[in-house]
């Protein structure tokens, strides 16, 4: 038998209605028992809200709305939930933004919608740009940019240019860490002439402006020069921090030495800006440690182990 939707003829049977062509309906259409719409090779279903933003499809359960798909500022929003618990996404131009309000003057919401939860997490995240983290007030906290720089608040670099610890002043900036080797070089009267080595090795660790050195040296010949003994080759320049003296304070220790000539105690002290250390000696238990060790104080096979800490301006 035939029926009508609007002015269109509809074939009706005991199991439903079949519209073989176009059908225009002016007014509401209620369909019970499910609605199937199919087409071949072109758009299957067009749902058109003519002029205004708002809900286009209302999703319901038990007669009550649980979500909707609609238009906002001529783009698509998908919202679930009800007042005070709206959650969704807004498919804005070149971005997906969180939605937390119903279709109205603004469906987007700031700082209310999570991505995943502690129990139900997304897996991998693939990005080609930056990751920017702001706090609830909108202040920049962390930026991992596409150039692999990790930046703290105010654009300060956490990677590449240091990290601020305990504060944000220049005195709180840890800007360098490095490990490596250096080659100890013994000089007598600031000359290396005739000095040869059985072995010499040095290791350094730099943390901020603090440089810590370890080293070991064994000579096979001290040469023929006379005068004060120096140690050069340190990996970083020595900062000039103490006034009224060129001898910088620090922690320099000759941990062990052999093949000396009557030394009671041997120490090292660093010279500012002079790229080296001086050996100082005590010849007796009661002597001051204020005399430079000289070539005559060591044998040709002089050997020593040292550990030193000083401040650099590098």
């Amino acid at each position: 038998m035939a029926g009508y939707i609007g002015s269109k003829t509809v074939n009706l049977s005991t199991t439903g209605a079949d519209i073989a062509g176009d059908a225009d309906v002016s007014g509401a259409l209620d369909v019970g028992g499910g609605l199937t719409v199919d087409n071949d090779g072109s758009t299957v279903l067009t749902v058109d809200r003519a002029t205004s933003d708002g809900t286009i499809i209302d999703l319901q359960k038990s007669g009550s709305s649980v979500g909707s798909i609609g238009a906002y500022n001529s783009a698509t929003g998908i919202i679930s939930g009800s007042a005070a618990s709206y959650t969704g996404i807004y498919l804005n131009t070149n971005k997906i933004e969180p939605a937390g309000n119903n279709f109205g003057s603004e469906i987007r919401a700031d700082n209310t919608v999570d991505v995943g939860s502690s129990s139900y997490r997304f897996k991998d995240l693939y990005l080609s740009g930056d990751i920017a983290h702001k706090d609830a007030a909108g202040n920049a906290r962390l930026l991992y940019d596409k150039s692999a720089n990790l930046l703290g608040n105010a654009g300060t670099y956490l990677y590449g240019f240091g990290v601020y610890l305990g504060g944000t002043g220049s005195a709180n900036l840890l800007d360098d860490y490095e490990e490596g080797t250096w080659t100890p070089e013994v000089r007598i009267s600031n000359s290396t002439v005739g000095i040869t080595y059985d072995n010499r090795h040095g290791f350094y660790t730099k943390i901020g402006r603090v440089v810590h050195l370890n080293g070991t040296v064994t000579l096979t010949n001290k040469g023929s020069n006379t005068g004060s003994i120096f140690l050069h080759g340190q990996p970083f320049s020595i900062a000039n921090l103490t006034d009224d003296t060129s001898l910088e304070s620090g922690s320099q220790s000759v941990d062990w030495y052999s093949n000396s000539n009557g030394l009671y105690h041997l120490s090292l002290i660093c010279h500012n800006a002079s790229s080296g250390f001086s050996f100082y000696k005590k010849s007796t238990a009661t002597a001051n440690l204020s005399s430079s060790a000289v070539a005559a104080d060591i044998g040709n096979t002089f050997s020593f182990r040292i550990s030193m800490t000083y401040l650099t301006n590098a």
Binding site: E178, G180, W182, T183, G233, P235, F236, S237, A273, S275
Partner: protein, 83 residues
């Protein structure tokens, strides 16, 4: 799968009043263009240093910044050092 050891001076810095030149030498092990490991070694070149053993690049920097005025000032500084 080609392994190569590449030694380079990857950092050359001029520091301090007397233009000390800090040189970092990097030794890297590379496999098919990918760096597998690396290690650093350093030394400092003072204005009065013998630079004949330095690289061409470091020598050029020394010649540029270790002017006679810098060398004289550094020599005066060393001469004035007192405990």
């Amino acid at each position: 799968m080609a392994l190569e050891k590449i030694i380079s001076q990857d950092r050359i810095e001029i520091v301090g009043d007397y233009k000390h030149i800090q040189v970092r030498t990097k030794t890297a092990v590379i496999e098919d263009g990918v760096e597998l490991s690396s290690a650093y070694s350093r030394h400092v070149v003072a204005p009065d240093a013998d630079i004949t053993g330095e690289s061409t690049e470091v020598q050029a920097i020394c010649n540029a910044v270790h002017t006679q005025a810098v060398k004289d000032a550094y020599a005066a500084h060393l001469a004035s050092q007192e405990v």
